[in-house]
């Protein structure tokens, strides 16, 4: 028997099926397979489209409010874009961490520290190139410290990142007290040196968002690392026995994420060159909520999708904008409560279907 046909001959003859009337139904294997495939494709498509449907619904609703109230439509849309763009850029990188089944809550604070160091370097040297390098390097160093400490202390990165969040805020405070005039509670550049440059415009933020997304999309979908990250997130035990190093791949994911944090800090500094100890502190949670709203499973693994980051970030931005349009829900507290409830509901819904089958970490 040819090696090619070893398993072929095991295809079974389908048993005849009888319908309620007692007549035999004949459905060929091919017909059956085609029908099944179509149904699978429909289910998959529906699952992928649902978060985008949510985004479109909120967009339409928001547009209706803006036009009804007589605001400038274009300005209102750009304002919402600005509200979502920082979360979106960081969420793109954070998708890799989510895919691995990990998360870093200190991303927002890391962004704050990167922005602070960038401001200090620019203020001291006026060198834009050096500022960009320092901005990115700071984010990378914070990320590496997170991994190294969690590896030495053998604590999950998520736990490490909570501690790191506090430490980073204290570091920013230290920088403020060391490099600011007495009485000031921020590091700032005034007037904004980027005011008349491309970096100040919304187009710069859009270009950074698109460029970073495209690069990450390619890494996620078309490079070996993306496949390995998804597999590792799904089952780290099996991944290890398939030659995938959890440590190496975690480091790569954190580095990609750090670049996103650095880019966010850069766009932030170019638009608003002021950093306080509170800068970025809410972003950590917002990133997590955005990724989940965008359709990313909490467990990571094969169902992870990088589009969840951008879709979720702007869904969140439109949701916030809609909530602010009504006096009853426009308060900061109320917005946070709505976000939290939405997060819990989405996590619960995703748990319902398959969380129980995933492995304990």
């Amino acid at each position: 028997m040819s090696i090619k046909n070893l398993f072929k001959n095991n295809k079974t003859v389908e048993a005849p099926k009888t319908n309620a009337n007692g007549t035999i139904e004949v459905e060929s294997q091919e017909e059956k397979k085609e029908k099944t495939l179509k149904a699978f494709s429909r289910q998959k498509l529906l699952g992928n489209l649902l978060p985008f449907v949510g985004l479109v619904v909120l967009f339409v609703f928001y547009s209706f409010i803006v036009l009804n109230e007589g605001y400038l439509y274009e300005d209102a849309l750009w304002a919402t874009f600005d509200r979502g763009v920082y979360v979106a850029i960081m969420a793109i990188g954070a998708s890799f961490l989510f895919t691995l089944g990990q998360f870093d809550l200190s991303l927002g604070s890391a962004m704050g520290l990167s922005a602070a160091t960038a401001l200090l370097v620019y203020r001291g040297t006026g060198n834009l190139g050096l500022t960009i390098v320092v901005c990115l390097l700071t984010a990378i160093i914070v990320s590496v410290l997170n991994i190294v400490f969690s590896s030495i202390l053998r604590v999950p990165i998520f736990i490490m990142s909570i501690a790191m969040m506090t430490v980073l805020q204290k570091v920013i405070l230290g920088l403020i007290s060391a490099f600011s005039s007495s009485g000031e509670s921020s590091i700032n550049l005034s007037p904004n040196p980027f005011n008349d440059t491309f970096m100040y415009t919304k187009w710069f933020r859009l270009v950074i968002l698109i460029a970073y997304f495209v690069i990450c999309f390619i890494i996620f979908r078309y490079l070996k690392f993306g496949r390995k990250a998804k597999f590792l997130g799904g089952n780290p035990f099996c991944a290890r026995l398939t030659g995938i190093s959890p440590r190496t791949n975690s480091i790569i994911a954190f580095l990609i994420c750090a670049i996103g944090v650095g880019l966010t800090a850069l766009t932030f500094v170019a638009e608003t060159p002021i950093v306080t100890s509170a800068t970025g502190t809410t972003y950590g949670m917002d990133i997590m909520v955005a990724i989940v709203i965008g359709g990313m499973p909490m467990s990571g693994g094969a169902r992870s999708k990088i589009t969840a980051s951008v879709c979720g970030a702007f869904t969140l931005a439109f949701l916030e904008a809609v909530l602010r349009a009504f006096p009853e829900t426009s308060g900061e507290g109320m917005i946070q409560i709505v976000k939290a409830v939405l997060f819990i509901v989405l996590v619960f819904m995703s748990s319902w279907s398959y969380r129980g089958k995933t492995l304990p970490r």
Partner: protein, 524 residues
């Protein structure tokens, strides 16, 4: 003599999304009988038993238990109401004790105080629970571990015994054993057989699901064959209907032709061509001063009792277990830069990454945890080991090439699926095993370490797997086959290494006269 019907399934249909797993099935279980359920992978055996015990709900049909409609709400509910199941996959919970596993959901029974109404409250008396677990284990004939033993210290095979104890403690009227025996050691199997026969003598009923035809024919009174979600036929032992060929034909829908194992008895290998070796290896108390050599084109069988250390030896050869002493080396031809001549060079295998880089593939016995990512599509599982095979410029994945690569493997191994995008968790046990196999076959490894490769695989696929292994051998590939089935070790190996208590006790060369009885004395 026809026994009283205790359970009936009428016109039952189960669909998983677009896939019909059971198609208008009628099935009867009688008191005082062990009913065998047999069929190919994906034929619907586990689905039927899962519906009977409330793990799945049915789409159509009716069920009757002791003449009354049966609507199980969950597996626990079913167990508490008379129908228990021992599932195919691992069913114990980690990080708690054996006793806590046995009395899962019933810990309150061991609370300090009892009310007049018969309910319990207050703190749990652990000693009471542990003693009760010890009692159940003792009744089963298991004394190796106790109720207080943490489950993590109990090996994979013995954890299955705990699952059995958990079900037996509920004293069910119907016990369903779903492909459990392959996960048990011989000692465990003996315990299981004695339990099911005891239940039969007590006029209770047992449904026994297995791929081992000899086992199922020996243990069961009737045999019902399922194929593609349809009941094909029921064979009655008393009526003399047990004919292995007829049963196989019913199972696979055709006559099984050709050799089952390899037909030749030429076990010679080129002793000078060692491709993998283990030298003076020590791993804790599992194995000590262990030496092994695998040659080019050799099928090296490793056998022994399940806890002898053979599974760990397989892992260590793959670099997945750190050695306390000794080494594992892979050997390949390489150009010596000094002399510019080709010579055999040894490469240390100290991690799975290095093993894979060297061309070694490993399929673990613990399939669902170590060989597969259940929550991922078939495509991801097969492609992950062979990324280098279809990546452009070593990094870039072309989805078309990937799909082509995966489909080729899935088609070659006839994995029963609607599409390669289907999640592995939705496949039957045997088809999962095929995916685990396809992962390494596609990578075209030079050395394959297969730990219990035919576990949970039906007879037709088993034969094809043996023939595939033989073809790979003929192509010059080397295979280490770790197995608890002596018949397949004898049937397939060029060299058979027997391990006892972490030590190599005997090595046999392939021979026509090699018998199980001759081997067993070196195992126990």
């Amino acid at each position: 003599m026809e026994h009283e019907v205790i359970f009936e399934v009428k016109n039952c249909t189960k669909r998983f999304g677009p896939t019909t797993a059971l198609n208008h099935v009628n099935f009867t279980i009688r008191r005082g009988e062990i009913t065998g359920l047999i069929g190919e992978n994906g034929s619907g055996k586990s689905t039927l038993s899962a519906i009977m015990t409330g793990i799945y709900s049915r789409n159509e049909g009716e069920m009757f238990f002791k003449g009354k409609p049966w609507e199980p709400k969950s597996m626990i509910w079913s167990m508490n109401n008379g129908i228990g199941i021992i599932v195919q996959e691992k069913g114990t919970i980690a990080n708690i004790t054996v006793a806590e596993n046995i009395f899962l959901g019933e810990a309150s029974k061991f609370a300090m105080f009892k009310t007049k109404k018969g309910t319990y409250w207050g703190p749990i008396i652990r000693k009471r629970m542990n003693d009760a677990a010890d009692q159940v284990l003792k009744e089963m004939g298991e004394t190796k571990f106790h109720g207080a033993t943490p489950i993590n210290l109990v090996n994979f095979q013995d954890q299955k015994l705990i699952e059995i104890a958990k079900v037996i403690a509920k004293k069910p009227e119907i016990l369903i054993v779903d492909e459990t025996s392959t996960a048990l050691s011989q000692h465990g199997r003996d315990i299981l057989y004695s339990l099911i026969h005891k239940m039969r003598s007590e006029n209770k009923a047992v449904v026994f699901i297995s791929h081992d035809l000899d086992e199922i024919m020996e243990q069961c009174d009737t045999l019902t064959v399922l194929r593609d979600g349809n009941i094909i036929r029921t064979f009655d032992k008393e009526k003399g209907e047990y004919n292995p060929d007829k049963i196989k034909e019913s199972m696979i829908g055709r006559e099984l032709k050709g050799d089952y194992y390899r037909s030749d008895y030429d076990g010679t290998v080129d002793e000078s061509k060692v491709v993998l070796s283990m030298k003076h290896a020590v791993a804790g108390n599992i194995f000590k001063d262990f030496n092994l050599k695998l040659h080019k084109g050799e099928i090296l069988g490793i056998g022994g009792l399940s806890e002898c250390g053979m599974h760990e030896v397989g892992k260590a050869l793959f670099g997945a277990i750190p050695l306390d002493a000794g080494s594992v080396y892979g050997y390949k031809k390489a150009i010596n830069k000094k002399t510019n001549k080709e010579e055999i060079k040894g490469y240390p295998i100290s991690s799975p990454e290095k093993a894979i880089e060297f061309g070694i593939g490993y399929a673990s016995k613990d399939r669902d945890i170590e060989s597969l990512n259940l929550d991922a599509p078939i495509k991801d599982n097969i492609a992950i080991a062979g990324l280098d095979k279809f990546a452009t410029a070593k990094f870039f994945i072309n989805p078309k090439n990937e799909t082509k690569y995966v489909k080729k493997q899935a088609d070659f191994l006839s994995i029963k699926c609607a599409s390669v995008d289907q999640y592995v968790s939705a496949l039957s046990g045997g088809n999962k095993q095929k995916v685990a196999f396809a992962k390494w076959i596609g990578k075209d490894c030079d050395i394959l370490i297969l730990d219990c490769p035919t576990r949970g695989v039906d007879i037709g696929v088993k034969q094809s797997m043996y023939q595939l292994m033989y073809s790979l051998k003929k192509q010059g590939k080397s295979i280490i086959m770790i197995s608890e089935e002596l018949a397949e070790l004898i049937g397939m190996s060029d060299t058979l290494a027997i391990i006892k208590d972490g030590k190599l006790t005997k090595t046999f060369k392939r021979s026509k006269d090699l018998s199980e009885s001759e081997i067993i004395k070196y195992m126990i």
